[in-house]
Subunit: 467 residues, 2 copies
């Protein structure tokens, strides 16, 4: 891509516009938009004017909003009007949402009155709602039409519709009656009534439904579009599968960010400024750092206790195990919570599954805890042979008790981590918190503190004083 950008730049500089046009029209909108991002901003208007009308509009939609703004500012009013007329309404709304007020004014002024009205209507729906992602450009048929009427209507009006693969059938009051696929229309006799042909068992969503739920439904039912109705079941728009994919990808990214203790942003990484990335990351870093005060107090308290009760090399040995214990607990809890959070997002796990999930995780954690305890015990025995037997003056007994203490603490920590890791996200979702946000921070802090209490408590009970 970098070398293509260089070639294009030199073609612009030598004003070979014919050649440029020939190159551009063989490319796809998404690729042209990517190319534009690699070029100097002042070259964009000249290049953009070389594109045929439809390709220009498609490219415009795929561009980053900074570049869109820049282009709009360079457009003459008639150029702006031409681009807006070519855009699908839902894309136009997405663009308007990202622009500063003065640019929005210019766009709305240039749009024809019908388009302006539609844009204004769609702007009213809350972000992340089905209404905000829908388009109003769909094919609408009536039950009393024949297939021939329908095909004529599609021929006449279909050119401006975002999809004609599915046509929606509405009654005279615009309430949703059903749908007919274009496939079904084509495969039917011309005199069949649409009302008889239509599939009336239709999956629809409401304007205020959450866009992620809607996208999941499109995916679940393998649809390429879904009708959006208002409170009175009147058809107001459709959501298409290409937008649903974008929503699903964005939501997966958001979940991943939240699990990594980042407050989510919706811009691509390379387009986000340093300060903005900092602002998205620092809150949880600070909160979690301050939460570590609990572990700090526990360690401080017990290491003072231990310095009285144990020889210093025994204290050192127990303290040295802390990172292993806390990391393993953290990893084990994370495995459980991440699996459950993803299951919740994909709709595979619900609140009523809580007992099953807990029972399952308890069994897994006993298996995993036992394995880890055995491996850890083996490792500690090996360490004794290799190095620690000197510190203990070859007294195996006390060391054995330390190894047993650490192994038991490890097994209990894993059990606890999996238990909290699997139940907290489900409970969080039930009471209306975001499971992905609850997961990491809380689980880590709870598991950290408890595992330390376990380790030190067991050590003070099991390991003999001042051996």
């Amino acid at each position: 891509m970098a070398s293509l950008a260089t070639a294009i730049t030199s073609l612009i500089e030598s004003k070979k516009y014919g050649t440029l046009r020939d190159i551009l029209i063989t490319m796809n909108a998404a690729d042209i938009a990517a190319l534009f991002e690699d070029l100097e901003p002042e070259m964009l208007p000249r290049l953009f004017r070389l594109l045929p009308k439809e390709l220009a509009a498609d490219t415009f939609v795929e561009m980053e909003s900074d570049s869109q703004e820049l282009l709009i500012k360079g457009f003459s009013d008639s150029e702006l009007k031409e681009v807006i007329d070519e855009l699908y309404i839902d894309d136009a709304v997405d663009i308007v949402e990202e622009m500063p007020a003065n640019v929005v004014k210019r766009i709305l002024a240039q749009a024809d009155p019908d388009t302006r009205k539609l844009i204004n209507e769609l702007l009213k729906y809350p972000d992340d709602s089905a209404g905000s992602m829908m388009t109003t450009e769909y094919v609408e048929l009536r039950p009393n039409w024949t297939v021939e009427d329908a095909i004529k209507t599609i021929r006449r009006t279909g050119i401006d519709k975002e999809t004609i693969n599915i046509c929606y059938v509405t009654r005279a009051d615009r309430t949703l009656y059903g749908y007919v696929t274009i496939r079904r229309l084509i495969l039917s006799q011309p005199d069949v009534l649409i009302g008889d042909l239509a599939e009336t068992n239709v999956i629809s969503c409401k304007t205020l439904d959450d866009q992620e739920t809607v996208a999941q439904m499109l995916s679940k039912y393998d649809l390429i579009a879904m009708p959006v109705v208002d409170g009175e079941n009147r058809l107001v728009g459709i959501v298409t599968v290409d937008d649903a994919i974008d929503v699903l990808q964005e939501e997966a990214t958001e979940d991943i960010e939240k699990m990594a203790a980042i407050t989510p942003s919706d811009k691509p990484y390379l387009k986000t400024g340093v300060f903005s990335l900092y602002v998205h990351r620092i809150p949880w870093l600070c909160i979690l750092m301050v939460a570590a005060i609990f572990t700090e107090l526990v360690i401080n308290h017990f290491s003072n206790l231990m310095s009285v009760q144990f020889q210093s090399f025994i204290s050192a040995m127990l303290l040295a195990c802390i990172p292993m214990l806390m990391d393993t607990g953290g990893n084990a809890g994370n495995q459980a919570s991440v699996t459950i959070i993803r299951g919740l997002s994909l709709g595979e796990i619900e609140f009523r599954d809580l007992p099953r999930v807990i029972f399952k995780e308890c069994r897994i954690s006993l298996l995993a805890g036992a394995t880890l305890a055995v491996v850890n015990f083996g490792k500690m025995m090996l360490m004794y042979v290799i190095t620690y037997h000197n510190s203990f003056n070859n007294q195996f007994g006390p060391y054995l008790l330390i190894a047993v203490t650490v192994s038991i603490a490890l097994c209990c920590t894993v059990f606890l981590a999996k238990f909290i890791g699997c139940s907290l996200p489900i409970l969080a979702k039930k009471v209306g918190f975001d499971p992905a946000v609850m997961a990491g921070p809380f689980i880590t802090t709870i598991v950290d503190v408890t595992s330390l209490l376990l380790l030190f408590g067991l050590a003070l009970m099991l390991v003999p004083k001042m051996v």
Copy 2:
């Protein structure tokens, strides 16, 4: 759903098959399949026989493979043949891939010879390739046909095709010429030649391309289907958007699992056995636990050194900071690596962006590190006032040096964590490792050990001996 299952069960027991059929035909395949999972297995064959042929096939596709196997075993040969005839080839292949050998034999025996040949061909493509997810049921047109010819062909053959929304145009030797949307066909005059109408600038993929790449392309270019060609550019199948969504969702889940140190599995959580979940989770838990040996040795070594050089309450204070330091380092590194890994999967970040990414992360980490150091310093000052001034006999000097040491170590740790967190995934991808797998484990271990060395090194230099 649970109560629906109860209602259905009692209807089956009272043999109200008419009512059952009426309920089932108003439902969607995906919902019926979900309902089946909640019922006793022995009820499935009876219910399944109530479904109309097409709905039965759609439902069958949506079911879990265990239930599919159970149903197939209960089918008579003619019932099995009926279901297979209704399936799309790509779905049939997916089902065959999950079945044990004896069931596969029965399925292939009942399929008609053409279907059997197609299934066998598709089975040959490697898992995760475009070939394994494509279907061979698409509409194929020739450039020398007119629109009228094309529509006649679609009318005659379209009923068995997975999509007729996009028709593919091939030359006599079956090499790909271009595509025509059904929309374009309908909106054109009957005597126009397909060759003139077809869009020849067509995005296609090869049979052996990675399915994730193909799914990303469908998403990037907003396609509802993409042609798959062999080495000689001959059209062999198409990939449809519904399968692409499933692949994207699965790949996001896989990435999330890998980042949480789980080896990915492709079954939903509730359907996976305890032992299988254990097997997917235990390897990394063990590896990471054993890797903690390094932190253990470092702490052991330095705490023995410190017990000679410092009073025990100073050692205790430094040791108590370790979890905070390691957790913050882990979180900071995780934030960077997770952002980068997701960017790599979405194709937003490439190897050539490495310098930009590193420069960006360095600036973020300096901001974040400085903030955290200041907050930590403030917190430690507060702790002195509240509790620690007693241990230090109100000598503020030595405590100040400890606070400075910990704050500097914290800032350096954050810098290091972000640096490794952002660069390691990109380098891993470059040399052919999976960035998601590399991330957590390696970064944690490197950052843990280095942050400890920093803390203890600084402490031994800065904090005065035996105050």
